[in-house]
Amino acid sequence: MNSIIMSLENVTFTYAPEDESVRPAVADLSFTIEEGEWIALVGHNGSGKSTIAKLMNGLLFPNSGKVTAMGKPMSEETLWDIRSQMGMVFQNPDNQFVGATVQDDVAFALENNGVPHEEMVVRVKESLRQVKMEDYMDQEPHHLSGGQKQRVAIAGALALRPRLLILDEATSMLDPQGRMEVIETIRELRKATGLTVISITHDLEEAALADRLIVMNQGHKQLEGSPEQVFRSGSELIKLGLDLPFAMRMTHLLRKEGVDIKGEHMTEDELVDELWTSYSKM
């Protein structure tokens, strides 16, 4: 049985507690995340996703309900200990680059936690290798692409050897190439270390890679389940301002054109396979 790394119980948060007319950013939200899972929190802009990220690392505290992280209830006392066990990567690649060069930035969290110098050198190298940025040690941030900066940010989080990595819309400001780089990095990390990952995103292709999706709408949890389960509710997702993975969109369009397709396909390979099977039977 895996241990629970993060849980929210009936959490409600509003940015304007005195104003009743303002809809809470997060309302009565509950979920748990086990060690080793990859969870995607999905929702359109303004669905409350980013507020959840802030609740999970103690930048905000709920008005009611309980946040438990790493087996400890989130409070002023446990905050720093919890944070030292989780890494976070934010949306804007420029605004989280603290160091003057790549290696300085990766070392920042280590410095804060008082890691001795010799250990730091080892860990900085190791983390940069994990994100394939070891050739850029001395680069300054304005010479890096968005995708590279985000990978450095991931390395900075990994240097602390966290139990949990939270990606708060980490790919949304990147070009397709940068997005691919970051997603690929996460996949490889997962394969190599089995690190627990929570990615907050509106990119359904990214979400489709997760083990489990939690779909948010207006501060509520709308849907939860494996990508297959969630994407099966097709039109409901579109109503929420989201989209379907490409293969599923194609499946729907083909059905509309009168092509008989039985399955709900997550990938192009599966879709083509079914077309081939039914076609060759004719």
Binding site: H44, N45, G46, S145, S172, M173, D175, P176, Q177, G178, H202, L204, I238, G241, L242, D243, F246, R249, M250, L253, L254, K256, E257, G258, V259, E268, D269, L271, V272, D273, L275, W276, Y279, M282
Partner: protein, 290 residues
């Protein structure tokens, strides 16, 4: 209004130790009324070309013809203002340009700078807010109180309010969620058709380029290496690959389908809808042949 780049070269920080060459001998013709997509991977010179289209940058070599105006290295900054009204640019993350107290004033900023009467400017602002699907009460709000998606729309309205003949779009949907992205791209296309605008779209999305454009230009290493219509450009996968680009997903799926089935579809599918139609037809044909 035609825009013509002839043998354009551009260097940043010319004649210094920090000189950086961004463009080499770029030739590009943007015919009046066309929808041109400029594609190319990051650092290929797309953004530099874009800034030449309304004389924000002047070429360090060659000439740019914007309508009747000729822009070259020594061209005086005077009278460029008029060009900038005719050629509107929506920059990447345009919400960064918002500054005024209210949305209304911010949208009116451009037109007022060009001497449009206050009443007319305000009428345009109201109309645009509606067209862009923003609630009417947004007009009197501060732009900084809006959500990210709304700010984007207000910024776009600020450019459209100048009623340009040419609309240049630099990744206008970056960072938006899927619904917002679709709505805004569809709106630009509608304007392109209804108002007969000349549209230039700089994008990373091959899907958008294939769906909307009638002319495509590929930038690579500071050069404009190919121009052509979408069918020709996206049929030539080898060429795309040379420039580190990929065909749109619908074309990729089409190729996958064709390989597996051992047949060729009649036409290249530039959009998902077209692909669905083409596959349905091919399967139907196969069935009829039985």
């Amino acid at each position: 209004m035609d825009i013509l780049l002839q043998d354009v070269g551009y260097s940043y920080a010319k004649d210094t130790p920090f000189e950086k060459r961004a463009l080499h001998h770029v030739n590009l013709h943007i015919p009046s009324g066309s929808y041109t997509a400029i594609i190319g991977h990051t650092g290929s010179g797309k953004s530099t070309v874009l800034q030449h289209l309304n004389a924000l940058l002047k070429p360090t070599e060659g000439t740019v013809m914007i309508g009747e105006r000729k822009i070259e290295e020594g061209t005086k900054a005077k009278n460029l203002r008029d060009i900038r009204r005719q050629v509107g640019i929506v920059f990447q993350f345009p919400e960064q340009q918002l500054f005024d107290e209210t949305v209304l004033k911010d949208i009116m900023f451009g037109p007022l700078n060009y001497g449009v009467p206050e009443e007319e400017a305000s009428r345009r602002a109201r109309e645009l807010v509606q067209q862009l699907g923003l609630p009417e009460d947004v007009l009197e709000k501060s732009p900084f109180d809006l959500s990210g998606g709304q700010m984007r729309r207000v910024a776009i309205a600020g450019v459209l309010a100048m009623e340009p003949d040419v609309l240049v779009l630099d990744e206008p949907t970056a960072g938006l969620d899927p619904r917002g992205r679709r709505e805004i791209m569809d709106l630009f296309y509608r304007l392109h058709v209804e108002k007969g605008l000349t549209t230039v779209l700089v994008t990373h999305s091959m899907e958008d380029a294939a769906r909307y454009a009638d002319q495509i230009a590929i930038m690579h290493g500071g050069k404009c290496v190919v121009t052509g219509d979408p069918v020709t450009i996206f049929s030539n996968e080898e060429q795309l690959h040379d420039y580190r680009l990929e065909p749109p997903r619908s074309v990729r799926l089409q190729r996958q389908f064709e390989e597996k089935m051992g047949i060729k579809l009649d036409a290249i599918s530039l959009t998902e809808e077209a692909l669905a139609k083409n596959i349905a037809q091919a399967l139907q044909k196969g069935r009829d042949a039985e």
